[in-house]
């Protein structure tokens, strides 16, 4: 057993429905496993609840938006008031109401870029390789099947034990996935 651990990524179970996946997540969590991940062709909030996932993306996006707003307003103020003051129809140089539109656009632009780039980066994408791509069954994870993987680097991991827990959740298939 011990000599296998470094090359083993985890034990993967396949389920036919979202219901079964959610039930399996709860059972595996209850058995004390921490390094567990579910895979599905569509987002499932119940799975996130069951596995206790949280994300700091929202606060990141807020910071992005704030940066955008400050950049937009600051850029316009610097250019129109200090660097290149132009007298346009006698309006004051610091005519801030006319800066609002671009400030708004920059806020949206920066937040949207933070949202997408942040999502990609926090998810560790792009990932050209993932051990689960070694599994032939895993191809169905993007179509109609639901998967649950107990990873081998879980402190409580024991191959026979993990297989037993997964087998008790009525999966279609349980298999070992190599690195």
């Amino acid at each position: 057993m011990q000599h296998e651990t470094p090359t083993l990524y985890g034990v993967l179970a396949e389920f036919a429905s979202a219901d079964e996946l959610v039930a399996a997540c709860k059972r595996v969590k209850a058995a004390g496993y921490e390094k567990v991940e579910a895979y599905s062709p569509l987002p499932l909030h119940e799975v996130n609840h069951a596995l206790g996932h949280t994300s700091k993306l929202s606060s990141l996006i807020f910071c992005g938006g704030l940066t955008g707003a400050l950049t937009g307003f600051g850029m316009q103020t610097y250019i129109s008031v200090f660097d290149y003051p132009m007298n346009i129809g006698g309006r004051p140089y610091f005519s801030w109401p006319s800066f609002i539109v671009i400030t708004f656009e920059m806020t949206v632009l920066f937040s949207a870029l933070t949202a997408v780039i942040g999502m990609i980066a926090l998810n560790g994408l792009p990932q050209p390789y993932h051990p689960l791509f070694n599994s032939a069954a895993f191809e169905r994870a993007s179509r109609n099947r639901f998967f649950l993987c107990i990873e081998a680097d879980d402190p409580r991991f024991d191959l026979a034990e993990a297989k037993k827990v997964l087998a008790s959740t009525q999966p279609l298939l349980v298999e070992e996935v190599p690195h």
Binding site: S17, A18, D19, L21, V22, K26, E37, A38, Y39, S40, P41, L42, P43, L44, H45, E46, V47, N48, H53, S55, L57, S58, I61, Q76, I79, S80, D83, Y84, M86, I88, R91, S95, S98, V101, I102, E105, M106, V108, L109, S111, A112, L113, A115, V116, M119, I120, L122, N123, L125, P126, Q127, Y129, H130, F133, F138, R140, A141, S142, R143, N144
Partner: protein
């Protein structure tokens, strides 16, 4: 997208809702059906015919643009007093069409209108392609296109900065932000579906290409969670953005002092018109596309009917705006304003005005009748009227005001040249070519999102809600 969003609030439906996906309602079938279009060895014959015509038109567009760049903006009909002509009309027309995509993908998402899932991908793609056509016009209208970067606050050799008090500069920011955000939204939505195509690919080339753009997406719960969070916030950002873009476009007119332009009704009136024209274009393209690619079970008559209802509502708003403009022209007591509106209806461009009223105000009213609203031919014809009417609206606004402003000595009559006409036809070529390529090579329906509205996908364990509770 949200699967359990309604689980806390479970009410008995007052009436049975029609299903969102017809036929085989199982998630494997949805995958097969949508991917089948992309994976078919050959597209339908009509696709070849269509793309031959549209790519020829696109070549014509490039020819016209090259001729314009080589010669100058004088090849268009723009001349004193109408220095804005078809270029601005077409710019506003295409930006308007772009609005439906964002409305469907962002606003309807926030309003939890789950029927949007079958049409949002195609509508977002249309947004992107329409923005390409729109963006082309101002960039070639500047004349010396090689210095178009002067529009942006980029340090240049003249050591000058743009004027941030000008609505034209606001427009540069609004449209470029809109293009960027639309692209991000569309691409992010595509990632899980590209992964599906990657996993189903049978050739190395397809696996490589779809795999590259799928970024190694593996559908893990953690990924989905961040994805959904990003999607929700993007929708929340795109909603005020889409309203701001056409408002800013309307500022190009409203902030000036030209009679007929200088009105406060412009922002809401332009936004309603943009949604109206955008939905018109979505119906025009989706009716043939769903026939051609066999997606009738996913894009059902109910989807089309809902879009027709939006067309009816926004068309009526546009009609109300026309009436309000006339009322204010009379009630405001400004003689120039009053003249401009009388001139619109009775002056040299009376034909454009009344055709516009017929297309935008009268034609959509037929959609009150359910039989018409659910008839493919009828809705197709009405949507064409909407497209024509909304183009005429921009023509009427731009040209009647410019050719009849304060001084009768500077009055004129605008006539387009062949370059104007061919460039405009060419943008349709570009738009449709891109759309046809999209239909053939990318999933036209958001596969992962449609799966979320299927009853089979809903976990019922532990939440205690009834089987099949989420049909709508």
């Amino acid at each position: 997208m949200t699967v359990d969003s309604t689980s806390a609030l479970h009410l008995d439906e007052p009436y049975a809702r029609p299903v969102l996906v017809e036929g085989d309602r199982d998630i494997a079938a949805v995958t097969r059906r949508v991917c089948g279009v992309v994976e078919a060895p050959k597209p339908p014959k009509a696709w070849y015919v269509a793309i031959t015509i549209t790519s020829a038109m696109t070549v014509m567009l490039f020819g016209c643009v090259a001729y314009l760049i080589a010669t100058g903006v004088g090849v268009w009909g723009n001349n004193s007093p109408a220095f804005w002509g078809w270029d601005i009309v077409n710019f506003v027309f295409w930006v308007g069409i772009a609005h439906a995509g964002t409305l469907i993908s962002a606003i309807l998402f926030l309003l939890r209108q789950k029927w949007r899932t079958s049409i949002n991908r195609a509508a977002e793609a249309m947004t992107l392609f329409a923005v390409c056509c729109a963006g082309l016009y101002p960039s070639i209208h500047v004349g010396r296109i090689w210095v178009a970067y002067w529009l942006f606050p980029v340090p240049n050799q003249m050591q000058m900065w743009p004027n941030f008090r000008s609505p034209l500069l606001w427009d540069v920011f609004a449209v470029s932000t809109y293009a960027t955000v639309s692209l991000l939204f569309w691409y992010m939505g595509l990632v899980p579906d590209l992964a599906t195509l990657r996993d189903r690919a049978t050739t190395k080339l397809r696996k490589g290409l779809y795999g590259f753009f799928a970024l190694g997406w593996c559908g893990s719960a953690r990924h989905w969670q961040r994805y959904e969070r990003a999607y929700l916030i993007l929708a929340a950002l795109a909603t005020p953005l889409v309203l701001s873009v056409h408002s800013v476009v309307s500022f190009d007119f409203a902030v000036s002092q030209v009679p007929g332009w200088h009105t406060t009704i412009f922002p809401p009136y332009f936004v309603a018109g943009a949604i109206f024209s955008g939905f018109g274009m979505v119906v025009t393209t989706m009716v043939p596309a769903r026939e051609l690619f066999g997606l009738k079970e996913l894009v059902t008559l109910r989807h089309l009917e809902n879009m027709n209802k939006v067309i009816l509502a926004t068309g009526s708003m546009v009609g109300l705006a026309y009436a309000t403009e006339f009322f204010i022209a009379w009630y405001g007591g400004n003689p120039y304003e009053r003249f401009v509106f009388l001139n619109r209806a009775l002056g040299p461009y009376w034909w454009a005005y009344w055709l516009m009223v017929f297309c935008n105000v009268v034609a959509p009213q037929f959609l009150w009748v359910k039989k018409i609203r659910t008839n493919l031919w009828a809705m197709f014809v009405i949507s064409i009227f909407v497209n024509i009417g909304m183009w005429l609206e921009r023509f009427v606004i731009v040209v009647t005001s410019l050719t009849r402003d304060y001084l009768p000595t500077s009055w004129g009559y605008f006539a387009p040249t062949w370059v104007d006409i061919c460039t405009f036809a060419g943008t349709f070529g570009l738009f449709l070519t891109l759309f046809l390529l999209f239909c053939r090579y990318l999933p036209m329906v958001a596969i992962a999102e449609v799966k979320t509205v299927l009853p089979a996908a809903h976990p019922h364990g532990g939440h205690g809600h009834k089987e099949g509770a989420h049909h709508g």
